[in-house]
């Protein structure tokens, strides 16, 4: 009995000595990474344990861990907006020296992703993460319905142009409302499953897809944190009003607190013609096309400008980890072009130029070209260390206006600025 206990104990000590833990959100790409990592373990003998947290709790769980200087994670694939807090509060290891030593060059990665996922202050050459998972908000649609001659001719008769990938948000609205309440194959269908979630970041990610396309800027480019007239510009107001119209005219009933999974469910169950979601989900959606469903994908439509909401994450080494050397070894392995190619092949979105610039890349999947297009036009929410404090008032005010129908778009944006000024003042930025 004692021998058994000793041998079990020594096994657990041995396994811990060469293992690291990686934290990420629980979603399709995480499974692909788990699969990919088997090769790392085979090459190095280092076991990688994974802790995947569902999206609604992801930020709470990870940020609490970092704020408490927790040692649970050695590696963290954290959201792009966390980079400010990761750097300023010292949660992430600065990787410049390591990159120099190992010959990892940030110029090998797509510039938009390096800017968004790795640098703090923004645009500097201080790197706190390796771009791990490129992502942006995009759209999937029921191509099989779009190809039906009777629907095509009816749409053309009504709107004077062809049913297809919308060239702008007005066309998107035309198409979504065309399907709203329409009976197809004996079932009632709806227009679009869009982001309306209240609790974390859902509705903000959705509405900014419209606001960016209308040309909204968060602040005066010449005077940081000066938001009046930029964030609540007439274009921004129009975009928010449009998003509400899209929700009222085209969302399925009960779609009032919906984000990634709810949008996927609405689409997969055949309720809607369009869904707004992250590229990360398109491999799964494409693979699961069956029973006549054919999915098409397109980048966020432009309105006044071409723009898309940035998603995606970089991989960082947690400062409080006792196994930073092993964690860095993982990053070194993950940065290799051959590993990046496998990452894309398995369903992850590589940010490495060798993968993205390969001549075969745009045709490698039906959504690859859209991904390339999107990554050239992405814009992100504030990446300030106080980003959660900035996110919460936006969630509340936008949800109140779009879903609840309370007040005006201008009033909602003014209220957000008011709260943001308070946050920046408390943070000493204003």
């Amino acid at each position: 009995m004692i021998l058994l206990f000793v041998s079990l104990f020594s096994f657990s000590v041995n396994s811990n000595a060469k293992s690291i833990t990686l934290g990420w959100a629980a979603w399709d790409p995480a499974n692909a990474l788990q699969e990919l990592t088997k090769e790392f373990t085979a090459e190095t003998g280092i076991e990688v344990n994974f802790e995947f947290v569902p999206w609604p709790n992801f930020a709470d769980r990870m940020l609490n861990e970092l704020n408490n200087k927790g040692k649970t994670f050695d590696l963290l694939i954290g959201d792009s907006q966390w980079i400010g807090a990761g750097a300023v509060y010292g949660h992430y290891v600065k990787l410049n020296d390591f990159f120099d030593k190992e010959g990892i060059s940030m110029s090998d990665f797509s510039p938009a992703t390096v800017y968004a996922y790795s640098t703090w202050p923004k645009g500097s050459e201080n790197y706190y993460a390796l771009p791990a998972m490129g992502d942006a908000l995009a759209w999937a649609y029921r191509k099989d319905w779009f190809d039906r001659p009777e629907l095509r001719s009816e749409f053309k008769k009504k709107h004077g142009y062809d049913l297809g990938v919308p060239a702008n948000w007005n066309q998107l609205h035309d198409m979504c409302s065309f399907f709203q309440g329409r009976e197809i194959d004996g079932q009632k269908r709806y227009g679009a499953a869009i982001n309306t979630e209240r609790g974390s970041e859902g509705i903000t990610m959705g509405v900014t897809a419209a606001m960016y396309a209308w040309g909204m800027e968060y602040e005066n480019p010449n005077k940081p944190y000066d938001m009046e007239g930029y964030f609540n510009s007439p274009q921004a107001v129009e975009a928010v009003e449009f998003y509400r119209k899209l929700y009222e005219d085209c969302a399925p009933p009960g779609h009032s607190d919906a984000y990634m999974v709810a949008n996927l469910d609405a689409y997969k169950s055949g309720q809607v013609a369009f869904q707004m979601n992250w590229y990360a989900f398109w491999p799964g959606v494409s693979k699961e096309d069956s029973g006549g469903r054919v999915s098409g994908f397109f980048a966020n439509p432009k309105q006044n400008v071409a723009a898309a909401t940035l998603g995606g994450q970089g991989i960082s080494v947690v400062k409080y980890s006792d196994k930073q050397d092993l964690a860095l070894e993982y990053i070194k392995w993950f940065a290799r072009p051959d590993v990046q190619q496998k990452w894309w092949d398995l369903g992850g979105y590589s940010c490495h130029n060798d993968v993205l610039n390969s001549p075969s890349f745009p045709t490698s999947t039906v959504y690859a070209q859209g991904f390339l297009d999107s990554m050239g036009i992405v814009k992100d929410f504030w990446q300030e260390p106080t980003f959660v404090e900035l996110m919460l008032p936006m969630q509340e005010a936008i949800h109140d206006y779009v879903v609840n129908g309370k007040g005006t778009a201008k009033g909602a944006l003014d209220k957000i600025i008011e709260e943001w000024v308070e946050v920046f003042e408390a943070d000493g930025k204003l």
Binding site: D60, A85, V388, E396
Partner: protein, 299 residues
Amino acid sequence: MSVKKKFKGLSDKAVGWLFIGPTVLLLLAINIYPLVYAIKMSFTNFYANKIGREPQFVGLKNYIKVLNKEAIWEKMQVTASFMFWTLLLQAIIGLGLALLLNRKFKGNELLTTLIVLPMMLSPAVVGVFWTYLYNPQVGLFNYVVNFFYDLGSFDMIGSSTLAPWAIVIVDTWMWTPFTMLICLAGLRSVPNYLYEAAEVDRASKWQQFIYITLPSVLPFLLLALLFRGIENFKMFDMVVELTSGGPGSATELASINLKREAFEKWKTGYSSAFAVILFVTIFGFGNVYVKVMNKIKER
């Protein structure tokens, strides 16, 4: 000296302390210390996520800020309305069910068990499955309502008019059995001879209810409402799962707002002040309520 002898020499008081000592220590560690620490923090500008930034003493600034913030009063109004309607409905329905189950009929025990089931469930689970029941397309709730009265498609948790009622309905469904059980205990403690004497005096059933049943069961009902009031003032999990405080902030109760300020925005000093205000409010109301309840009992 042997252990046996040592304990033999202990006074009754010492043995008493020996028994309650661990509990007192635990209470001090997990209740009193955090409370004192929160009170201390409420006078500072502490942010728990801003590592290395020393908290500074700011006096009553956080309290003034909380009390002057319009949004806080909106949350308090939402909380007060939620409490009023849930307590009212739970008192009426709970007492009604208790009166029903106090009668002897076939299947009484089975019915009691079935009625009590909802309060055995986890509030978070209840919140999640009611989101499905409220679904305008496939939800059972909407189907049942439309079966009796055709309202067409309506979204209980997506409308600011209906969402506050959505949380009231779920809380009432879940916790009315609790009020019912306490009232039932009260009803079963009423001696039968009172009713027999009333019968002799030719009192009607209504008079028996007003002059015997209600006064006897009232202290029990008030006690149940005190427990439910305290719980509903702190209500968090069920509402978060059901509406996330939305749409907008239509169902954002004070406790949900407090959690967002404390553990999402990390405004530790400010949220400590808010927590202290909530604590004083519920403690104050609780004390007044207990005094009123005791007076009713004495009558």
